[in-house]
């Protein structure tokens, strides 16, 4: 379990994180927030490449500041907007270089080879990374993080700029990976559909503060996560419709029944995560 305790971080006058306390249990946690919310700062502090002003990072109770060198072996990361690898070197040379520098066992390269095959990149492993498309570069970055077989995996916008097919491949890989080798994954993304499909837990962050954290079932119980029922009926030779929340459905149906109205259809419409997140992050709704 990864626990971030009372983390604060300022860049000049800008507060990136404000006494953030949050935990990430095994499984996939989606870290959701608008641009500048502090997601990348949080990930970089958790990886140890950035120092917090106050607070500490605990991996299974072990402090990152004290055990960085041993813990770093268990952490894999894909950083946002970074090349992550040397563009002028071939794909395989990059993987081999980092595997050696990070002191990984020989099996890591076997894992890398398998992942290259899964990503249809095996035939391009001799090409310089700069010759690859953006999507393929991102896949190489994901492979670089996964070949460590990390217990903690940080994916900062792993599908940024990817087309729908590449994005699907990354999504599928993450899903399969977590199933095969249980680990703690922290995923940041602006794609709510992806987050909803992958994550077991959600953490919402805005202006450096955690707004809400919890499992997806708890997210469904939030007051603004309500299914809406659309009732279509015929009245006075006209087809009308009305949207009501679950709690008002029975009263609407009984009143329509009393009026002798013909009810044509009742649809249950699931809420859109994007709308819920927008409401949550914009402050329209307080959790």
């Amino acid at each position: 379990m990864l626990v971030l305790k009372e983390l604060s971080k300022k860049f000049g006058k800008h507060t990136a994180l404000d006494r953030v306390t949050v935990s990430f249990p095994p499984g996939i946690t989606a870290l959701i927030g608008p641009n500048g919310a502090g997601k990348t700062t949080l990930i970089k502090i958790a990886c140890g490449v950035l120092l917090p002003d106050t607070g500490e990072v605990l991996y299974d109770g072990r402090s990152l500041s004290r055990f960085r060198r041993s813990l770093i072996r268990e952490i894999g990361v894909v950083l946002e907007n970074a090349e992550n690898v040397y563009g002028y070197l071939p794909v395989w040379a990059n993987l081999r270089f980092f595997a050696t520098l990070w002191d990984l066992p020989e099996a890591a390269l076997q894992t890398a080879q398998e992942l290259l095959e899964q990503f249809d990149l095996a035939h391009r492993k001799g090409n310089p990374v700069n010759d690859l498309s953006r999507g393929n570069k991102q896949k190489v970055a994901v492979i670089l993080a996964l070949m460590k077989r990390p217990r903690y995996l940080f994916l900062d916008e792993p599908t940024l700029g990817l087309d729908v097919f590449a994005s699907q491949q990354v999504e599928q890989l993450i899903r399969t990976w977590v199933k095969q080798s249980p680990c703690t994954v922290v995923l940041t993304t602006h794609r709510m559909d992806l987050a909803w499909r992958l994550a077991d837990r959600f953490v919402f962050i805005r202006e450096g503060r955690i707004l809400w954290e919890g499992p997806r079932e708890a997210l469904r119980r939030l007051p603004h996560w309500q299914s809406v029922y659309r009732v279509v009926y015929r009245k006075d030779h006209r087809v009308l419709q009305q949207e009501v929340e679950a709690r008002d459905l029975s009263s609407l149906l009984s009143s329509l029944h009393r009026e002798g109205t013909t009810i044509l259809e009742v649809h249950r419409e699931e809420p859109d995560l994007e709308d819920v997140v927008r409401a949550l992050l914009s402050g329209e709704v307080t959790p």
Binding site: L50, N84, D103
Partner: protein
């Protein structure tokens, strides 16, 4: 440490497939510069030629050692790979040392081209190559202190570059300060006092002086202790500045942005 060396040797091997011509022409440029200087400025004095040649080599080695450490910031920070390098379980000073040694091994081939070229041209000009008796322990000592003092300077440059983005701009100036204090052009001991003092502030000055003394076997070695202290000071200062620079970069997020 072996792993780091292995990793960087592997990386440089691949880099050479792209950048070998750059290295070769860089060495050829240095060779022309050296030959031009010695043809224009000096009579073909074999002792002076040899001293100049070794001083020049020390200068080239010193530049390689220094810039290779600092290059990690200038190159990797721009590419966005420095954070991944930092995520190695090895202490950072070992990464810098391994990287530098790997680069030095690679450059050995290029220094050999320089040596063969310089000696060959000298011979073609009709001069005899006369190798005077050499005090080899002192020669080895001069190379050792050059290695560590230059590495210390490299760590300083690395630390400063993490804090001040444009630290690289002073390297052009540093190049020539080191050249004039290397003993390649004039023996440091023959230079005016301010230049001698300047030589003691550079990582190459004492090494150049010890190297010059090693070509005069039997001469006393009064520079042993001061040059050793000078080297230790450079390494110590290098470690302090490297750690401060890293701490600053990790505090401000400058490891990712250059």
């Amino acid at each position: 440490m072996r792993k780091i060396l292995q990793a960087y040797l592997y990386k440089y091997y691949w880099e050479q497939r792209y950048y070998l011509p750059n290295f070769v022409f860089e060495v050829l440029g240095h060779l022309l510069f050296f030959l031009g200087l010695f043809t224009l400025l000096f009579q073909p004095d074999p002792t002076r030629f040899l001293q100049g040649l070794l001083g020049f080599l020390l200068w080239m080695i010193s530049l390689t050692i220094m810039y290779e450490s600092a290059m990690l910031v200038w190159e990797d920070s721009l590419l966005g790979t420095l954070e991944h390098v930092y995520m190695s379980p090895h202490p950072f000073w070992q990464i810098l040392l391994g990287r530098m040694v790997a680069n030095l091994i690679l450059h050995t081939g290029l220094y050999s081209i320089f040596l063969v070229g310089a000696l060959g041209t000298y011979r073609l000009m009709g001069h005899t190559i006369h190798i005077p008796p050499v005090a080899w322990p002192w020669m080895a000592f001069s190379v050792a202190i050059l290695f560590f003092a230059s590495w210390g300077m490299g760590l300083i440059l690395f630390g400063v570059a993490l804090v001040v983005k444009r630290a690289g701009s002073i390297t052009g100036f540093l190049y020539w300060v080191l050249f004039f204090t290397s003993g390649a052009l004039f023996s440091v001991k023959e230079q005016p006092r301010p230049f001698q003092i300047l030589a003691w502030t550079t990582p190459i000055g004492p090494a150049g002086m010890v190297m010059a003394d090693s070509l005069r076997p039997g001469s006393p070695m009064p520079l042993l202790l001061p040059s050793l202290l000078h080297t230790c000071l450079y390494v110590l200062l290098g470690f302090v500045v490297m750690h401060l620079g890293l701490h600053y970069a990790r505090k401000t997020g400058k490891m990712a942005r250059y």
